[in-house]
Symmetry: C2
Subunit: 117 residues, 2 copies
Amino acid sequence: MPSRPTDAEVDRIFQALADATRRDIVRRVIGREQRVSDLAGRYEMSFAAVQKHVAVLERSGLVAKRRQGREQIVSPVVATIGRARGLLDELEALWRGRIDRMAAILQEDAAAAHAER
Amino acid sequence: MPSRPTDAEVDRIFQALADATRRDIVRRVIGREQRVSDLAGRYEMSFAAVQKHVAVLERSGLVAKRRQGREQIVSPVVATIGRARGLLDELEALWRGRIDRMAAILQEDAAAAHAER
DNA sequence: CATTTGTACAACCATTTGGTTGCATGTTAC
DNA sequence: GTAACATGCAACCAAATGGTTGTACAAATG
């Protein structure tokens, strides 16, 4: 999926990032791949709760799971972080565009004032 | 608030971005400041619904409102977008750190193999 | 084979979210 | 002053979230 993400995809990515536990899980699996139970051991909540968080992250594409025997290894999908960044970059580009347009208008005004003399 | 954002702040920012209508509102107000009713006119939903979206964006710090007579002017707060980007940058930096560590280990192995001969 | 371990999943619950309508209030225009 | 406009807010509703416990099952271990 190299093309522009759909609204629904972006919704899922930001939604997944909008929870401190899930952001922490992402950090951990970036540091090193983790089994679901490794992760579950780190938080105060139940195993099932952590498992659900991992499922949310997986649906968003921020992490991937691969089975290894009875274990499930969770690893990061850095490209998806990049997709989220791309969207923020786009917003910042829009902002710069606005600044540039404002600068251009100031230029014109200055030129007009100059011609008036 | 130049310091590291709290978890709760980051939660609110990503939560606010996790909705296509709200992302669109942010784009519009970046393009040009808008009154709440200007925005409301653009979407199929009720005025109150749009107003709520703006309120969510305001609480997250992505936009600011300033009153002008009876109108409320909504403008972007680009610094907050930067804060969200900062967090994604941090994740990508962690990833590069992992890559670097792996490269270092490969280096050591190569050196060891070399010494063995 | 029996047990433990790792994971998934269903059912349930409280809270939040995203929408609605209706009403209240302050501001501008006539 | 009255009417029209712009906004805010409360009450309500359905659906989604984030958590729980309990059950089921496959894989590793003794």
